[in-house]
């Protein structure tokens, strides 16, 4: 007869926790996503990362809000000048304003990073879920194809694909080269996400509640979207937020090799690649784009972490 007492305890502690002591709170039906939003609203880290994200998105959409300088205006006489009143972040190797270039660079870096990650998550997520859910031949096929891509060294694969589609001497449009870089990053990156999604879904699939749903007569779509995905989202989300940063870095590597984004396109990656060897004589030209890149990655990581925590009812 200990159960009623347990219930009482639970009522009190849970209500204190939720901050809603009145029983009418039970009248509104709630679900996972509504509850997740309720938790997010109360998290400081969520709002900080959201404000930073909005700032970065504003830079992406309206760089002129932040600077009225022309990022392509070059005065070689002032090459590698340090930060001053006229040029807040100093002047780069080619005599261009580092602040203006950092602001304008946000667009390509963020678009390439987020779009490539999005493409990776969609591609890797769908294939991973299919491989785990249908198993057997579907799994064998998807896993082996994924391993073929995984076996390809990253840089080598990128050189081959980019070198064929957009060779170093060619002069592709900004949109075209960005699209190609995004596709290359996604094509070479999806197998890792596929594996993460696959293993998370396989783990969730063998839980009793999935059996219970099947016993109730639930179809594949309901099982995947109601039971498997919500319970395997955490590792996918964590990996995706880290990937955004590493993709922005990978974009820089490709630029350094002369096959990725190339001038006149402005990006953090190009700025970092251009000035990596001048770290002792003009650290500012390297420091500011790198700092923005780190802040941007941090934003996505914090956001991803906040969402992941809010999605887990046990942490409420």
């Amino acid at each position: 007869m200990s159960e009623p007492i347990v219930t009482q305890d639970l009522v009190q502690s849970a209500d204190e926790h939720a901050g809603s002591a009145h029983p009418t709170a039970a009248d509104k039906p709630r679900g996972l996503w509504g509850d997740t939003w309720d938790i997010l609203k109360r998290r400081k880290i969520f709002w900080i990362s959201l404000v930073m994200l909005v700032l970065f998105l504003l830079m992406t959409a309206f760089p002129t809000l932040f600077t009225d300088k022309d990022p392509n205006y070059a005065d070689l006489a002032r090459s590698m000048e340090g930060p001053s009143e006229g040029a807040l972040f100093g002047i780069d190797l080619q005599g261009r304003d580092v602040f203006a270039r950092t602001i304008y660079g946000a667009r390509t870096s963020i678009i390439v990073g987020t779009m490539a990650t999005l493409a990776t998550v969609v591609l890797g997520g769908i294939t991973g879920v299919l491989a785990a859910y249908y198993a057997r031949w579907t799994d064998i096929l998807i896993s082996r194809v994924g391993e073929m891509f995984l076996g390809l060294p990253y840089v080598l694969g990128a050189i081959i694909i980019l070198g064929t589609i957009a060779p170093a001497q060619s002069n592709p449009s900004e949109f075209m080269i960005m699209t190609v870089v995004i596709i290359v990053l996604a094509v070479l990156g999806w197998p890792i996400l596929m594996r993460i999604a696959r293993s998370a879904v396989i783990q969730a699939k063998h839980q009793d509640y999935v059996q219970a749903a099947r016993a109730l007569g639930a179809g594949p779509l309901r099982i995947i979207f109601k039971h498997l995905l919500p319970n395997s989202l955490a590792p996918i989300l964590v990996y995706a937020t880290i990937t955004i940063g590493s993709f922005i870095g990978a974009e820089a590597t490709l630029s350094l090799l002369g096959i990725g984004l190339r001038p006149p396109v402005i990006s953090w990656g190009i700025a970092i690649a251009d000035h990596a060897q001048y770290i002792r004589t003009g650290a500012h030209a390297l420091f500011f784009p790198a700092a923005f890149l780190s802040a941007c990655v941090l934003t996505f990581v914090m956001l991803g972490e906040a969402v992941r925590d809010a999605l887990d009812p046990k942490l409420r």
Partner: protein
């Protein structure tokens, strides 16, 4: 309780062999685990059939076969005369309304990311014709009340409940579609002893209220005795003895049942000293390669040549007033209760 009317569940010669394969790309079958190997029984409305046996004897596979979560190798499971093992699609979905399940572990059988309302309401979402949309919330709250939970807790998550309460949520989900049969796969083995009794009593009162038929799978003989009208004892994928609970507990005729019952703790010091423990030698043989003839013969003290040559059928025998699969079946009181 067993009525002579039509059984609502008829299981005939149910067999499930899991193939053992070798090789990665080109799989060769090198044998089979005979998890369930020719099981037959009937279940009537409002009746409880207890199924006991040690780990690995095929109890849980049997439950999965009855729920059509696994397809049998052969045999049939008829619910109200219709075979669920061959049903597909919409037919199968409709038949599922009649047979539901309460799972063993209340900590893994509830989706941690769904509210109690969503979990108990899921049957209505899947079978949308059972309850109109506006009515579902009320139905869910009714169900929570039936199983003794606070209907206001509909927006809570499973981790906010104790083990016993979680099992009640699982029972509410099983009841939602008003099934006639509920398979309980060790529903109390993961719970504290004090909570076990509460859940057992709940199951009993629900049986009276809704005329439910239970298949009650357990390895705890005293739990099974408490709730069952009839008991089936399984060993290595086969039923070795089946009968009314008093017949099995007071007059077991199969040596395996006698050995099992002799291990039940007796709460009486005097009886404990007088009774004989039957200690079985060795481990159960591998279900991939069961012994010829009687499967129990390798551990049986009565085994003779005929046991290796001829498989004993599950039938009423001269020494056994109920069905027993032993050539030398004879009543032996091992519990000592008279």
């Amino acid at each position: 309780m067993a009525t002579p009317a039509e059984p609502i569940l008829e299981v005939r010669d149910l067999v499930k062999h899991f193939p053992l394969t070798q090789g990665i790309l080109f799989k060769r079958q090198i044998g089979a685990i005979k998890a369930v190997d020719g099981v037959s029984f009937d279940l009537h409305r409002g009746e409880t059939l207890g199924v006991v046996g040690e780990s690995g004897c095929g109890k849980s596979t049997l439950a999965k076969l009855l729920m059509a979560l696994e397809r049998p190798t052969s045999g049939s499971v008829r619910i109200n005369g219709r075979d669920i093992t061959t049903a597909r699609g919409g037919d199968l979905k409709r038949m599922r309304r009649n047979i539901q399940m309460v799972m063993q572990d209340p900590y893994t059988s509830l989706n941690p990311r769904m509210t109690v309302g969503d979990i108990v309401g899921e049957p209505f979402e899947i079978h949308s014709e059972v309850a109109p949309k506006g009515d579902r919330r009320r139905r869910v709250q009714e169900l929570l009340e039936v199983v003794g939970l606070n209907p206001d807790h509909i927006n809570r998550y499973p981790h906010q409940f104790s083990g016993g309460q979680r099992q009640r949520i699982g029972i509410a989900r099983g009841l939602a579609l008003r099934p006639e049969i509920i398979i309980c796969d060790e529903p109390v083995s993961a719970l504290d002893v004090s909570i076990q009794a509460q859940v057992m009593n709940l199951l009993e009162s629900l049986q009276k209220e809704f005329e439910l038929a239970y298949i009650f799978i357990a390895h705890d003989l005293s739990v099974v005795r408490h709730i069952s009208h009839r008991v089936a004892v399984m060993y290595l994928g086969k039923i070795v003895e089946i009968g009314r609970d008093a017949e099995i507990y007071d007059g077991p005729t199969h040596p395996y049942t006698q050995a099992l019952l002799s291990a039940v703790p007796v709460p009486d010091p005097e009886g404990r000293e007088q009774r004989q423990r039957i200690i079985l030698q060795g481990d159960p043989p591998s279900p991939a390669n069961p012994p010829s003839g009687c499967r129990f013969r390798t551990r049986c003290w009565k085994a003779q040549e005929i046991c290796a040559e001829q498989e004993p059928a599950l039938e009423i025998r001269p020494g056994s007033p109920h069905s027993s699969a032993c050539h030398f079946a004879e009543v032996r009181d091992v519990v000592g209760s008279g």
